[in-house]
């Protein structure tokens, strides 16, 4: 297990390294000059003020030193919490903006992922043994798996918001409210949270159900299940063992699907104008705020790494092979 953990940690460190490098590298390798773009917003500059302003910005953003030094400075900034300053929300620190948006995104993501995973697994396992359930769950699951995030993010608010006026369809809370910890605000928060949550939840639900169903079917027919049946174990026990075996690949699948789920989350937030990280990204794009974009990217990379790590820990505790194996990779 030590070797397993070491490998994992190396992977995380490398991933972080690659992520930061890509993040730093893109603006510098892309055509165009970010400061020029910035200055393009200021109308009526004569060449002297332009040059002065250019020099000023170059200094402020640390762009007037050689590339390798810029790279190192970037790293330094990451670790000292200085992730740059937003251009769009002029002057606000990237970290501030990110941390403001983060709770909204987490409130959306975590329950949606956890619930869809747990319920999806239950549904899939149940479908694996009841034919009638299988015949409804399976087609429904395929359809939901096939729905593009943007579409659901349009149809759901359309039906439940615009047609049937059950829920609001945009923003994080009522427009006229001031964030305070009172019931009006909180209920408004929940009201606005529900539809985006439902969207992310529904799309993932189908996938987990189908995956679990297939895994359970496979496990129910594997050698140890057959052996237990041959020795007269009742079907309930056989099923229990099958579920246990099936949940391992599912857990790995969760770790692997995180990147995708985050993507879907972003799309949903944009569609709902929900003030989370996804929406922030969108604002950054439309306002050409590259620094904000970069900061958010790092943040998400770190988030994914942490989530992966948590799942790895859970996996170790559930799979005796990983826990006890003293070897490295098996062939």
């Amino acid at each position: 297990m030590r070797r397993y953990l070491t490998r994992k940690i190396i992977t995380y460190v490398l991933a972080f390294f690659v992520g930061v490098t890509i993040d730093w590298g893109i603006p510098h390798l892309m055509p165009g000059d970010p400061i020029q773009n910035l200055l393009g917003r200021f109308a009526g500059l004569n060449s002297a003020s332009y040059a002065a302003l250019y020099h000023q910005f170059a200094q402020a953003f640390g762009l007037n030193v050689p590339l390798w030094e810029q790279y190192l400075n970037y790293w330094k900034g990451i670790f000292t919490g200085n992730w740059g300053i937003s251009i769009w929300a002029t002057g606000a620190k990237v970290t501030t903006l990110v941390f403001q948006a983060m709770p909204y995104t987490l409130a959306l993501l975590v329950p949606a992922v956890v619930l869809s995973y747990v319920l999806g697994n239950r549904l899939g396992a149940a479908a694996a043994r009841r034919k009638w359930l299988d015949n409804t769950v399976l087609p429904a699951g395929y359809v939901f798996q096939a729905i593009p995030y943007p579409w659901l993010a349009l149809v759901v608010p359309y039906l439940l918001g615009d047609v049937w006026h059950v829920f609001p369809t945009a923003y994080g809370y009522g427009q006229g409210l001031i964030p305070t910890w009172d019931w009006t605000f909180i209920s408004s928060l929940l009201d606005h949270w529900f539809l985006p949550f439902l969207t992310v939840f529904l799309v993932s639900l189908g996938g987990w159900s189908i995956g679990m169903r297939n895994l359970v079917i496979y496990e129910l027919e594997n050698d140890s299940s057959r052996y237990m049946r041959a020795l007269g174990a009742n079907e309930r026990v056989v099923r229990r063992y099958a579920y246990r075996n099936a949940s391992l690949p599912q857990l790995s699948g969760l770790a692997l699907a995180l990147g995708v789920i985050i993507g879907g989350n972003i799309v949903t937030e944009v569609a709902f104008a929900y003030p989370g990280l996804g929406h922030l990204i969108f604002e950054a794009i439309t306002n050409e705020d590259y620094f904000l974009l970069q900061g958010i990217f790092i943040f998400i990379v770190v988030g994914v790494l942490i989530a992966n790590f948590v799942i790895d820990l859970v996996y170790i505790s559930v799979d005796p092979r990983t826990r006890l194996s003293m070897q490295g990779s098996t062939t």
């Binding site: 593009p148 943007p150 615009d162 189908i210 297939n214 895994l215 690949p249 990147g259 995708v260």
Partner: protein, 324 residues
Amino acid sequence: MSESVSEVPKAPDTPGAVPGAVATPVAPVAGAPVGLGAGGGRVRRQSDFLYYGLRNKKLVFGLTLELLLLLLAIIGPIIAKYPDQAYTGFPTQHPGSKFWFGTTDAGQDVFAQVVNGLRDSYLVGLIGAMSAAIIGMALGFIAGWRGGILDEVLQMLTNIIVMMPALVLIIVIGSYLSHPNLLFEGVFIGLTTWPWVARAVRAQTFTLRSREFVDLAKLSGKRPVSIIVKEIAPNMASYLFLVVVLLFGSSMLLAASYDFLGVGPTNSVSLGWIMQQASNEAALQLHYWWWFIPPGALLTAMVAALLVANVGLDEVFNPKLREQ
């Protein structure tokens, strides 16, 4: 200790996770799973394949639906009465005999837009799946065949790539590029989804390379490349095919998300773009349902047909899954 997903090419087997809105390894390798084609029991004869293939409801249904949609994508733009971007002068029309899917608030024919968008989707799906397949198969074969340090490096690489949030990455890259096009989008998707293929191929190569017929080929002096191509690949072919089909579907879904956010190609009409336009023009609040319902519905149908056909195909290839 290898990643558990890699040893189970699931759909059933396995397991295998596929990206897009698809969250789990179906199959394969699933995985795994989905079961994505469990180990033994490959269909050997052509007749077996045809027999079971034609009788598998899922395969027939999925394939038929997909072909119909493909047909729509091909002849749709031809039979559409207006070019996709043209202004017909009849804004916000409900669907009717004149405009089958109605018009946008600027008077563009939604039907024309949608069928042209279908084309884009198929194309990007193809490019994405092919790029991912080529890269993934090449790297997966090498890692599985050689093992050792090469394999460790590949595993590290796939783990890292999988962890990168692709959507944010394409946003960051895309916002710096002035004119993203379809090819770029497709290749980008391929570059971010090849790990799925590589994992599955690697796992299968590992299992197969230690089988006797490979030893036999080695003993008779065949070169490694020849062994890979002639002995190992045919045995994996069915499984690989399943993975590529899934990737095709997920590429389409990913592209729709990217287009919706505005980082996709801007010189052509795509289904994601249509939905973005509808959203921007407050189609929801104004109840212009014909604008945003058709593109998403058709895309769902395209991907769902693929998924269902894929499962049917898996059942044909892997007798264990058949419900008899």
